[in-house]
Subunit: 378 residues, 2 copies
Amino acid sequence: MASDRPRFAFSLKARDGRARTGEIAMRRGTIRTPAFMPVGTAATVKAMKPESVRATGADIILGNTYHLMLRPGAERMARLGGLHEFMRWDRPILTDSGGYQVMSLSDLRKLTEKGVEFRSHIDGSKHMLTPERSIEIQRLLGSDIVMAFDECPRADRPMAEIEASMELSMRWAQRSRDAFDAGGEHAANAALFGIQQGALDRGLRARSAEALRAIDFDGYAVGGLAVGEGQEAMFGVLDYAPDMLPEEAPRYLMGVGKPDDLVGAVERGIDMFDCVLPTRSGRNGQGFTWNGPINLRNARHAEDTGPLDPRCTCPTCGNYSRAYLHHLHKSGEILGAMLLTEHNLSFYQQLMQTMRDAIGAGTFAAFAATFRADYLEA
Amino acid sequence: MASDRPRFAFSLKARDGRARTGEIAMRRGTIRTPAFMPVGTAATVKAMKPESVRATGADIILGNTYHLMLRPGAERMARLGGLHEFMRWDRPILTDSGGYQVMSLSDLRKLTEKGVEFRSHIDGSKHMLTPERSIEIQRLLGSDIVMAFDECPRADRPMAEIEASMELSMRWAQRSRDAFDAGGEHAANAALFGIQQGALDRGLRARSAEALRAIDFDGYAVGGLAVGEGQEAMFGVLDYAPDMLPEEAPRYLMGVGKPDDLVGAVERGIDMFDCVLPTRSGRNGQGFTWNGPINLRNARHAEDTGPLDPRCTCPTCGNYSRAYLHHLHKSGEILGAMLLTEHNLSFYQQLMQTMRDAIGAGTFAAFAATFRADYLEA
């Protein structure tokens, strides 16, 4: 790791309305913002080689603590030289805390002040995640951006429950901070992000932001969104929540989203995103284009010799026809997942680059209007 | 297609015992022999981009008439510009005749002098394959090396049945020749191979070879092997069958095989091979090495930071550990299939190159002895 590079330095280069563009300099590389992070769940961005992920324009990827702690295991990963060496990705990796997946994937959860007890969805084995253990796992993985361990309740739970959960998450945020700071060399080279909770309630969001600012983090995530509340409700929160967070730190909207979600969130001041949508869609036959998503399994593509998206610069669009992609997806061929994932990730990165350019040029509002006309009304 | 290149010119460069090395010059490229052809069943070498297939050292790939006639369909493929354009492989493609898959995959077959009636294994639709239709399909696909349509009975059938089947295949070989020759521009740019039958019977093999020589083909396949008879019985046939075929034409052993099968068959005068083994194994976790095949799902690889094969020059062995391949295959990740398929195809091509070099140097016997000691007795 190049120690002549900063541990974590976020510099804003331009603003356009509430939208911002800049970069985060870290030991393992620079992250251009607004940034989209492809998800590498199980130490692989599914159906992609790491050099191909990089070629799409990704500066950083995300790894899932929950999946990696179960397989291959955090201590084993450390013995193997860490996640970067294991999967051959030498640029920054952000790891989530495992909290979200414990809630959504595992069985037999028991939530206490200490942490969460759960059973693996793979083999039923019993595990415990606490703020301290989550941070330790992320250190063992060699994460560059470590996420605080939090609890993410559904937005439709009773308000008292959401409030209690947010308060628990803020106590866990402090414990995460303390555990991270005790991490020695890792703490000297990595960054720690806190996560704002509070569901759809402005007052709770303000209290959560205040608690996080008091603890002090390198960056701040807006958590607890994209959990079924819908785009309108999400944008409603984003109308105020990012501005509650420090202006000089990056703001990360976790688990989002569709291309039009990204545009609306950047418009509201978000700097970082991750989502499985482009990779998962790539395996399921959904391709993203500037004129909206299309289902390549649809028979209307069977004899279409044109590219998936004529404006796209990716290798898939440069080489292959919609007819071929249709054939591969109808036939369940692995190459279909490979080519469409590569396109979708490229499309997402082209969208991010276009947004960064528009913010830099002060033309974001015009870009967003054109994007929506093409993408949503095609 | 470069018309200044020969339609089909096989030149032998060296012999070593019965082993031969040379090259086949064709319109779309030159095929170094002995050659291994990766199988591209459904217009894709599974889990590989075409440029990666080429980078392994493959000069030619195989396409399956049966699969392609069912999906996307031969006439549709022709409208889309042919198989090369569809799958973006611009070098030679050999297509089989569909006869073997009709017997092994489809339902409700009815065999007559005219051809075979069958139902698709995909949707149950009814189809008919005759020598004329098989050749027409291969022309519509744009095949460079067209295979005669034959019937391949199991080697354990009664002798009278095997004899009758061989004689039928020889009548079909003549009809295939006539249909191919009527193919106009395609016939002027492609080659036609006949297929020797006769199972494990020397007399039938001789009569089949005589019939094929009378018809005259660009190349000759040894058919009806690798259908369950075992390596010893196969080598028994190869001890005499290739020498019954014209010396100045390439000899192709269909559907073979394991690395030790290839070495033994080259030793007996075979010039061309195809097999799904390296690609299928790549998806199933079996990796080929100079010290024999290994199962990457085995727990003993879980913390092995060494490469799959230290002698292999492929990108997988250059970048990734056995531990990572183990993790990917245990987790069912597509990247596991991608990386292991690339290694296996590279290993096969390195084996072929090593054999070509040994024949050229007159050291094939020594190579084969060393290979067997390392590969079979490891």
